[in-house]
Amino acid sequence: MRKNSFYLIVGCIALALLAVFWYSVEHHIRFITEAAFMVAIVLIWFIRTNVTDIIEDERTTRITEQAAVRTFQLFWVILCAFSIGAVMQILYIPSFPQEHFANATSRPPVILGPRLMGFFQLFLLCLMIFLYVGFRIYYARKYGDWETDEE
């Protein structure tokens, strides 16, 4: 199979996934989207093994590695900084005598509740996808992915 056919099939699978997602949301059936996503990944992997053209080599592997490492480096700093603050808020235990906390105002105000913290961490996970795409574009450009030639 040629690589263009492969990319075409991947596009069709993505469209099918979108349709499944829409159906799943309309009928409130979460399981369908989850199962479809896993099936799609396995399907793409299987089709990819049958591609005869070279679509991955040491340069593309390097681009992927560099983008992944940079994403991880940035992501763990952001996530840890947030998580440390969240854990400190959850584990807030007064260590001073109770008389000191006689006034109700001594406890710091809750900015993010545990539920919102969870959602914010989910948002950070989604942010990682965009970070990865950004870094991938940067390194692809750096290693000449969009260079053109007279040939």
Partner: protein, 73 residues
């Protein structure tokens, strides 16, 4: 890292696509190496040189980025 891949390709009447197929990489990688955007691994450098039946030094010329000088006051 400078290279003479383009010259050797012309001598052997090979296109970037031909060289890419022989060495097992994408055409974009050959183009990136020719333009100096990507420095190939030693393994790929050997494969390219052997495709042209020459040594690595004939194809690739190393250039130090900046000479290291130690100042003594």
């Amino acid at each position: 890292m400078k290279n003479k891949i383009k010259v050797f390709r012309a001598m052997h009447d090979m296109t970037q696509e031909d060289l890419a197929q022989v060495t097992g990489v994408t055409r974009q990688t050959i183009l990136a190496i020719e333009k100096g955007k990507y420095v190939p691994s030693l393994d790929l450098a050997f494969r390219i040189a052997r495709t042209f039946n020459v040594t690595i030094e004939d194809v690739f010329q190393y250039e130090a980025a900046a000479p290291i000088t130690v100042g003594i006051d």
